[in-house]
């Protein structure tokens, strides 16, 4: 199970900022993803966390090959997906599917559920011959916990959680190896969110899926992920197993992020040390020199402004961290400690 199914090498995605209508002039670059490397192993869940604007959704778009990277590579089983086109690309797309955040806008309101979930079969007729499609769709509906008899209903007849199940069924239709989930539960209510998370876990166990699970909710990510990557302003600042990131974080940003998560236990209210970050995330058009987090970091020294800290294993830590002054710090309060 240690085979790398996806390898991302030094991935960069910049969007040009232009001025003028007739004579377009590029006046800057939004550095949405700026040098990210990681791998996804078969059957594992890699969680990607970060605040808005850190580039996690751009990463999803590049992984799906909806955007071509500015530079760097995304290798699917050793094959660079951004170089593919035509039939080869179509065959690849079968293997990587996407579940989107907003179940209200990601489903076409004029299509029935049967058409929505069956549409992938139109593009990839080899998966299901014409006659068997309705049966397949019903199977999928049943699989994600929806009533197969609702195949002729329209999206507006379903609640948010049910729509997200439709989105998941659509992603599963082609039996992909990888599903990229971009904030799949953040639009849902707590009780519904738990149902969808359980469904994702069940499907992974059943089909041996690999997930790239993108979310801003750290508790949700911890619950589902085997490994977790933390992003800040287009860079990956720390990556490790779920335990390494949550129990032994070494990057100041990860520590601040974890400490800011409200814990649903009022008894921990007073003995919880919140690291308060000041200010907002800087603009990705002109990120700070050196370490991008230095403008909000309490540890920042001169070296942080000059040298970009590499994502590597540092002294006293067991997983890569992109901080010159990485050190362990206990953040997540446990019940034993309280």
């Amino acid at each position: 199970m240690t085979e790398n199914i996806i390898e991302v090498r030094d991935l960069v995605k910049h969007y040009p900022v232009t001025r003028g209508i007739v004579f377009k002039k590029t006046i800057g670059q939004v550095k949405a993803v700026d040098g990210v490397s990681f791998e996804l192993k078969a059957g594992e869940t890699l969680g990607v966390v970060g605040e808005s604007g850190c580039g996690k959704s751009t990463l999803a778009r590049v992984l799906m090959n909806l955007e071509r990277p500015t530079s760097g590579q995304v290798l699917y089983k050793g094959q660079d997906i951004s170089k593919l086109s035509g039939g080869a690309l179509r065959r690849l797309r079968r293997q990587i599917q996407l579940v989107m955040q907003d179940p209200y806008t990601s489903l076409n309101p004029r299509m029935t559920v049967g058409d929505l979930i069956g549409e992938p079969f139109e593009i990839h007729p080899e998966v299901a011959p014409r006659g068997s499609r309705r049966g397949k769709v019903k199977e999928l509906l049943d699989l994600v916990g929806l009533n197969p008899e609702h195949i002729n209903r329209y999206p507006h007849q379903f609640s948010g959680g049910q729509r997200q199940r439709i989105g998941i069924a659509r992603a599963l239709a082609l039996r992909p190896e990888i599903i990229v989930c971009d904030e799949p539960v953040s639009a849902l209510d707590v009780s519904i969110q738990a149902q969808v998370m359980n469904l994702l876990e069940k499907l992974q166990a059943e089909f041996g899926l690999s997930y790239v699970f993108i979310a801003h909710d750290l508790s949700v990510v911890r619950h589902l992920s085997d490994r977790v990557a933390v992003m800040y302003l287009g860079k990956m600042v720390e990556i490790g197993t779920e335990d390494e990131i949550y129990e032994r974080p070494t990057h100041p940003y990860t520590q601040a992020l974890l400490s800011a998560v409200p814990v649903p236990d009022p008894t921990l209210r007073d003995n919880k040390a919140i690291i308060r970050l000041t200010g907002d995330v800087p603009s990705p058009v002109s990120p700070p020199s050196g370490c991008r987090f230095r403008t909000r970091c309490w540890k920042a020294q001169d070296v942080c402004a000059q040298e970009v800290p590499l994502l590597q294993i540092r002294r006293g830590s067991d997983h890569p961290s992109a901080c010159h002054f990485a050190e362990r710090r206990e953040i997540v309060p446990t019940h034993e400690a309280a």
Binding site: E51, S52, S159, G160, G161, Q162, D189, V190, S191, I192, Q193, A194, Q195, M197, N198, E201, H216, L218, S219, V220, R222, H223, L224, E242, Y246, A256, L257, L258, A260, V261, P262, V263, P264, D265, P266, T267, L268, R269, I274, R276, L277, T278, G279, D280, V281, V332, P333, T334, H335
Partner: protein, 342 residues
């Protein structure tokens, strides 16, 4: 049927002593498709200096209650069909719109979830704050501006003077929420209603905003109604919690009691279904099913179709919100059993 909050009695027995009281409020939305009973007898109160969290999922009626308190309910389709909203003992629902207007801002103010759509995009942030001082306090332009800059400073907007003449779109999400807090606190309200104030924000910014709100509340001894669906935020800041489901309060308790021993199966289900960062659990225990359609609320306890403890009585009798123990109440036929288990 009366669903008086027993937890609110508190021994004093003097209803007029409360700062803000919602009493058996009922609201329905009359739409083309039918009548949705959005609020079905909600009773809660908030006193000076305390934070009441109103917890519920979408459609539970928590925001509509707040809109009714503020008098900003869209009518039609929303109609108040019963109950009272008393501010300092006076029923606001019977007041003239002029009287209500005087309470808004000075008596009760509100901050909204989506600060970008709550602020007017064509006026500067500073102007929108200063406007209140000019119109409500009769200040001159320059005095009003001075006060508005002070307000921006109080909510810790860096370079408040320079930021005065910025437009809302020039502010980041966190800064906009700060500006909105400044605006709502400008006239020194006694009660602040915060409707999902941090839902649209990132966690690090959320922590900043909740800190700020707590600090301002302590300074001013305001009563605060915090409307949210986030059980984490509630645990950090609330004094008391009212849990809403299908337009009713199903449980009301002190924050510590509620998390330690929920007295309603819905609260218990909610607590069980959140993934916790400090406990890597296995499968999440979910609440099965979906919230009821408000046009067709099931008979008996509205939670009965989803409740793991449901008995025949739950399908027949609506459980009233009854006091259990000293300072908590639950609307469940089996609340005692729930609290007294293990």
């Amino acid at each position: 049927m009366s669903e008086q909050s027993a937890a609110g009695a508190d021994g004093s027995g003097r209803p007029s002593g409360r700062l803000l009281e919602v009493d058996d409020l009922r609201v329905e939305f009359r739409t083309r498709d039918g009548v949705a009973k959005v609020i079905n007898g909600v009773t809660y109160h908030v006193d000076a200096g305390e934070t009441l969290a109103v917890l519920g999922e979408s459609g539970s009626g928590k925001s509509v209650t707040a809109q009714t308190i503020m008098g900003i309910l869209d009518t039609p389709p929303g109609f108040v069909t019963g109950g009272q909203v008393r501010f300092h003992g006076k029923d606001m629902l019977k007041m003239s719109s002029e009287q209500r207007r005087r309470i808004r801002g000075e008596g009760i103010a509100m901050i909204f979830q989506d600060s970008l759509s709550a602020l007017n995009p064509v006026f500067t942030v500073g102007f929108q704050i200063a406007e209140q001082f000019r119109i409500r306090r009769g200040m001159s332009r320059s005095d009003a501006k001075k006060r508005a800059v002070e307000m921006l400073d109080q909510v810790k907007i860096p370079n408040a003077k320079g930021r005065y003449s910025n437009y809302p779109h020039q502010f980041s999400g966190g800064m906009r929420q700060r500006a909105m807090i400044a605006m709502s606190l400008a006239l020194d309200p006694e009660v602040l209603i915060a409707d999902e104030p941090t839902t649209a924000l990132d966690v690090t910014v959320q922590a900043q905003i909740m800190d700020l709100l707590g600090e301002l509340q302590r300074e001013r001894q305001m009563g605060m109604i915090l409307i949210t669906h986030d059980l984490g935020v509630v645990a950090d800041v609330a004094d008391r919690i009212a849990v809403m489901y299908a337009g009713r309060i199903v449980e009301e308790a002190d924050v510590y009691d509620l998390y330690a021993k929920p007295a309603h199966p819905y609260t218990l289900g909610l607590l069980n279904s959140i993934p916790r960062m400090d406990e890597k659990g296995q499968e999440l225990r979910t609440i099965k099913g979906l919230p009821p359609n408000l046009m067709n609320i099931p008979p008996g306890c509205p939670f009965n179709p989803r409740c793991p403890m449901a008995q025949p009585v739950c399908r027949e009798k609506v459980p009233p919100l009854l006091q259990i123990g000293s300072a908590r109440a639950s609307a469940c036929h089996f609340a005692e059993e729930l609290v007294n288990r293990d």
